[in-house]
């Protein structure tokens, strides 16, 4: 993934409306994918994803280029929206979550087709027990197929730290999935 689009942010800050559209066209897919990964519901993900770009317009003047890709700033906005989303529905009981599913959401993850019947929502729920950085590293590495060096840029860390984070993230995710009784790999 080409992460060198920080010039777009500068143009957007100068009021170039075309730059906003370009940013949307460039990053809508990846932000949607990220939000869906975190919340597991395509309706919610579509709504939150649109809100990310509205917030971008609202706060574009607060963005400062600190050497990190502009996309990481968008991820931060998305992350806060996801946190807000979970905070608002904190009182809801997490059950089978069979309501309002789309077909896509019903399909079990290839992750556990062989071993269990995990769907996207189960994974999203299991991810909540990971730290923010652990969730990000899982998403960037396995969903976005980013290299360690790109992930390091995104998270402002060294590649060594990314490997360490990746290890802890996988261990935590596995433990969390086992608690959900959704993941029983044959050992």
């Amino acid at each position: 993934m080409n992460l060198n689009h920080n010039g777009l942010a500068k143009r957007a800050q100068q009021g170039d409306q075309g730059a906003f559209i370009e940013i949307y066209n460039l990053y809508q897919r990846t932000i949607y994918s990220y939000v869906l990964f975190r919340v597991g519901d395509s309706n919610v993900a579509e709504d939150l994803c649109a809100e990310v770009f509205v917030r971008m317009v609202d706060h574009i003047q607060t963005y400062t280029d600190q050497g990190r890709p502009f996309l990481s700033w968008l991820y931060t906005i998305a992350h806060h929206l996801v946190i807000d989303y979970y905070r608002k529905r904190k009182t809801e009981v997490w059950v089978a979550l069979e309501d309002n599913y789309r077909d896509n959401d019903r399909q079990p993850h290839p992750l556990l087709i062989a071993e269990g019947n995990l769907d996207r929502k189960t994974l999203a729920h299991a991810l909540q027990s990971l730290t923010d950085e652990q969730q990000q590293v899982i998403f960037l590495k396995f969903i976005e197929d980013m290299t360690n060096s790109d992930i390091a840029r995104m998270l402002n860390k060294t590649e060594g730290a990314v490997k360490s984070l990746q290890h802890r993230a996988l261990v935590s995710l596995r433990t969390s999935l086992q608690k959900e009784h959704a993941y029983e790999p044959e050992l």
Partner: protein, 381 residues
């Protein structure tokens, strides 16, 4: 030790991503196999999660929300919470209706019902008053909202088309009004491209500049159906912020009704030379006969090849039956190279019109008679 394991895990994850199996990774690191296996199984599963895309309507809706916010930011001065509070306090202090103790209940009910009647009546007035509003007016949001509601509650496809046309005409009117009022803003235009020029396009008589910052999605050519988010500048210039190009719309008058076209599947593609001109745009007419044969050689001046008009552009490979000159895309119309010398136009066939606008003009009867009959081989092959 831990750091070493992280390194090994990372290496194995990489190996999995390039197609190696979990077993081969475990064989390579037998001492760490027990720890590696569950993590690699999880990694392998995570790698298989497909990339998900939002539905196209959701992508468009998101973009609409973005544009609406850009527009809002541009035209509405922000009001601080402090100012809002001060205003509310002022209203409270001057308005007896806020003092609960001085308003008897029955009187309150009368007032509420009267207010409802006034609101209903004023709602109708507001909708009517919004009809002539343009972007930047307070009531413009009402106008667009009413339009959206009209579209949403209409199920008849013909009626939807009529409404869409009506709203499209309304956007053109708004742009003209904005230019006269020196108003700036973004308006969404839909229509068919009349002409593509160097740095601008003409759509329904309006000239829209296409700058380096304009985002163009799809193929911007004459006849393309487009949706444009257009910025109206203070000096009245229209600048394309984003252009989405759709299908090419054929001038129906140019499409023959009864022609029996050969089946494209029966074309002997071995006849097509490797350097045959690729004709990506499924227009009915070529504006000049093509260098390579079209399925049916055309007798008129035509502007873009021809018999593939019902195919997707990406499915179109080449014309099959050679014609005299190469064909050109509409965007090349103003920059035509000279015909190759080896393909001299036969002297008994009408020459090309000098004015490009006449290229798609049909020949008159006299000219038609000068064309070679169908059963006579064309002179260049």
């Amino acid at each position: 030790m831990s750091q070493n394991f992280e390194q090994i895990l990372d290496e194995c994850i990489f190996r999995l991503s390039i197609g190696e199996t979990i077993d081969s990774c475990l064989e390579k690191y037998p001492h760490d196999a027990a720890r590696l296996q569950p993590l690699l199984m999880l990694s392998s599963g995570l790698h298989q999660i497909p990339l998900m895309k939002a539905s196209p309507p959701a992508v468009m809706a998101g973009k609409e929300r973005l544009l609406a916010r850009i527009y809002q930011k541009e035209f509405l001065e922000p009001v601080s919470t402090k100012e809002q509070n001060r205003y509310t306090e002022q209203v409270k202090s001057h308005s007896p209706w806020f003092r609960k103790e001085v308003m008897p209940m029955k009187l309150g009910l009368k007032i509420v019902s009267s207010l409802l009647a006034v609101l209903l009546f004023s709602g109708i007035l507001v909708i009517n008053a919004s009809a002539n509003s343009i972007p930047g007016d307070i009531l413009y949001g009402v106008k667009r909202g009413v339009e959206n509601v009209q579209l949403k509650i209409t199920s008849n496809p013909e009626k939807i088309d009529q409404l869409t046309m009506k709203f499209h005409a309304e956007r053109i009117k708004e742009i003209t009004a904005m230019i006269h009022a020196h108003r700036t803003g973004i308006v969404k235009l839909m229509g068919i491209v009349d002409e593509v020029q160097d740095k601008e396009i003409i759509i329904d008589g309006l000239t829209v500049k296409v700058t380096e910052d304009s985002v163009v999605v799809g193929s911007l050519v004459n006849g393309a159906e487009v949706t444009i988010n257009t910025k109206v500048s203070e000096d009245g210039t229209l600048i394309a912020v984003e252009i989405h190009c759709g299908d090419i719309v054929f001038p129906s008058a140019l499409i023959p009704e009864d022609e029996d076209l050969p089946d494209p599947d029966e074309i002997d593609t071995d006849e097509v030379p490797e350097d045959a001109w690729v004709t990506p745009i499924p227009y009915w007419k070529t504006y000049k006969p093509t260098e390579w044969r079209t399925l049916v050689p055309t007798e008129y001046y035509t502007y873009i090849p021809t018999e593939y008009r019902d195919l997707n552009p990406e499915d179109i490979v080449a014309t099959v039956v050679p014609t005299q000159w190469k064909t050109y895309l509409p965007s090349d119309l103003n920059n035509l190279p000279a015909p190759p010398e080896q393909w001299q136009w036969p002297s008994d066939v009408p020459s090309w019109p000098s004015n490009p606008s006449d290229y798609d003009k049909e020949l008159n009867n006299d000219e038609m008679e000068m064309l070679p009959p169908d059963d006579v081989p064309w002179p260049w092959k």
